[in-house]
């Protein structure tokens, strides 16, 4: 549905997007991930024909964004970072205006306006001025305008930014329910969101593509080896953690044992092993040596860690956090 090849956007002083290539299949929900300033918005703007790429190709539904922008625009629904609302318009009036812009008219237009109001739960504010709506409603009206002409492709730039947790959940459910009929690209820097809503992830950093894969594969790939957390305590209230470490290292298949936490009575170890289940052997080794096994669980790598590993810069994320905290 969407093909991007060597897409580049260069400004006078910097390169915002640098030879990015990816493909998105029909009906997929794709998470577009990256720290702030990574080039997510710029890429999306090029896909929606708002910006002209410096070089490279992008096609949406087999139409080139440079050659046939009007055809591309007909097939795309776009929600920019700030919903493009006119404060002096009423919700219903605004949706009708956008519908007309997208080429709808007459009975069909009225039907679609009713439908999107219902779908995005904005029917109760139809007669209200957009300038008076709360952030949650504004975001939903933004989403409603994006889907009004039933586009094949939806491009959503941080659709859950600035919403409260309840609204975030509602918006995610809405987006999920839109998948299937629509091909969706959504950008975000909230990682659990990708794990929850998307099937595929595209990670970019500093304008460059870092990874593109399914969420599942990415987790497996980053994990590489399996790692298990083991908490062990001594029977008589004291524990020699060095002895435990030595014993665990002797278990077949274990490549490395790290002491994560060491107390008088119990210690926690992170055990790395090659793939395959060594958990049974670990448990037996602990119990047979006369210690108590308090906890044994797989240390699944969260997408967050994968993300940090792939973008290779904790600094970028810290920076982002600092920006978010700043008033």
């Amino acid at each position: 549905m969407i093909t991007v090849k060597d897409l580049t956007k260069r400004y006078a002083r910097n390169t915002a997007v640098d030879h990015v290539s990816f493909e998105v299949g029909k009906g997929q929900i794709v998470g577009f991930l990256g720290p702030n300033g990574a080039g997510k918005t710029t890429t999306m703007r090029m896909l929606t024909c708002f910006l002209t790429p410096t070089s490279g190709d992008a096609t949406v539904a087999d139409y080139d964004v440079l050659e046939q922008p009007l055809e591309v625009k007909k097939r795309i629904g776009y929600l920019p970072e700030t919903p493009p609302l006119y404060p002096e318009m009423e919700t219903g009036e605004y949706l009708t205006f956008v519908g007309k812009l997208k080429g709808l008219s007459g009975a069909e237009l009225r039907k679609r306006v009713d439908y999107v109001c219902d779908r995005c739960a904005v029917a109760d504010v139809r007669g209200k001025l957009l300038g008076r709506l709360s952030k949650g409603y504004r975001q939903r009206v933004g989403l409603a305008q994006a889907i009004i002409h039933n586009p094949g492709v939806l491009i959503l730039d941080e659709p859950t930014a600035g919403l409260d947790p309840k609204q975030i959940n509602e918006t995610r459910d809405l987006i999920k329910s839109l998948g299937g009929d629509h091909t969706i690209i959504l950008s975000t820097h909230i990682l659990p969101e990708v794990e929850q809503t998307c099937e595929q992830v595209i990670i970019i950093n500093k304008g460059k593509l870092v990874a593109t894969d399914s969420v599942q594969n990415l987790q497996n790939r980053a994990r590489g080896a399996e790692s298990v957390l083991v908490e062990v305590s001594g029977r008589n209230g004291s524990l020699d953690s060095a002895a435990v470490q030595q014993r665990l290292e002797q278990v077949a298949g274990v490549s490395r044992v790290v002491v994560k936490q060491s107390r008088d009575s119990y210690s926690t170890f992170e055990v790395e092993s090659r793939k395959g289940c060594v958990r049974g052997d670990l448990a037996r080794a602990v119990v047979e040596s006369g210690w108590d096994l308090n906890e044994l669980r797989p240390a699944a790598m969260s997408l967050e860690e994968i993300f940090l590993q792939l973008t290779g810069s904790e600094a970028a994320v810290q920076e982002e956090a600092a920006v978010k905290e700043a008033p």
Binding site: Y11, L85, M89, K102
Partner: protein
């Protein structure tokens, strides 16, 4: 064409949904009403004086009231046009709604023409205010309506040219105040360019005076439809809107 009308009606709605349109209409009505009242007063005074002296001056309503008033309406327009055009694109750029327009299946030129037409329509509404004043002349006198009609046509053409320039300037910035101030400066400059011909007759002065927006209105105010002047205005309109399309296109490279 359909798209142009969609944009145009949306713009007109937002003019009339905010106080802008009403404010401009009211201010224009007051100021022009004052002009009308004072020039009518003078006309009556001159008429009475000539009667008392027993001389019969040829008293012509068209020449003595309508022509200078039309010219004044044009000058007054110079002050109002920046207030009409400054928000056209600057506001959309600031609020981000430009992204909606630029990613909708609609051509840039349709957006521009729609906005320009809306601005021209608002200006036409403002001019209607002057028609209320002139209606009194028709009630109590017998002015010729044809020069008046041509005068209005000239006013619209002149405004169309300045509005096109204002529309262009509005695409250059996110800041409405800057757009308004710059347009006002250009409007004023295009007016005073004509003054140079008062003391200088060299070729450069003539060229400069020719570029003035108000010199071309003189024929219209007299009730003469001079194709040379009409073409001048149409050319400025065309150029202004053409530069606006180029400016819109450059946004796709820069922003």
């Amino acid at each position: 064409m359909r798209n142009i009308l969609i944009i145009c009606s949306k713009e007109l709605r937002s003019y009339f949904a905010s106080p802008i349109a009403y404010l401009l209409l009211t201010m224009f009505a007051f100021i022009f009403g004052y002009f009308f009242w004072s020039s009518l007063g003078e006309f009556v005074y001159v008429g009475m004086e000539s009667q008392m002296r027993g001389q019969t001056y040829p008293m012509n309503v068209n020449e003595m009231i309508i022509r200078p008033l039309l010219f004044n309406a044009g000058i007054l327009g110079l002050f109002f046009i920046p207030m009409i055009t400054m928000r056209l694109f600057a506001e959309e750029k600031r609020s981000g709604t430009i992204e909606l327009l630029a990613t909708s299946p609609i051509r840039d030129i349709e957006v521009i023409l729609g906005k320009w037409l809306a601005a021209l329509s608002l200006y036409a509404c403002i001019l209607m205010v002057t028609a209320v004043n002139f209606a009194f002349l028709f009630k109590y006198g017998k002015p010729d309506w044809k020069p008046l009609a041509i005068g209005y046509l000239g006013l619209l053409l002149q405004a169309g040219a300045l509005l096109a320039i204002g529309t262009f300037i509005s695409t250059l910035t996110k800041n409405q105040i800057i757009a308004g101030a710059a347009t006002f400066g250009v409007c004023l400059l295009l007016w005073v360019l004509a003054w140079v011909s008062g003391y200088e007759t060299a070729t450069w002065a003539q060229v400069l005076a020719y570029m003035s927006i108000t010199t071309h209105f003189e024929s219209f105010a007299k009730g003469v439809l001079d194709s040379k002047d009409a073409i001048f205005y149409v050319t400025v309109i065309f150029l202004g809107l053409f530069f606006t399309t180029r400016s819109m296109e450059s946004l796709r490279w820069r922003s």
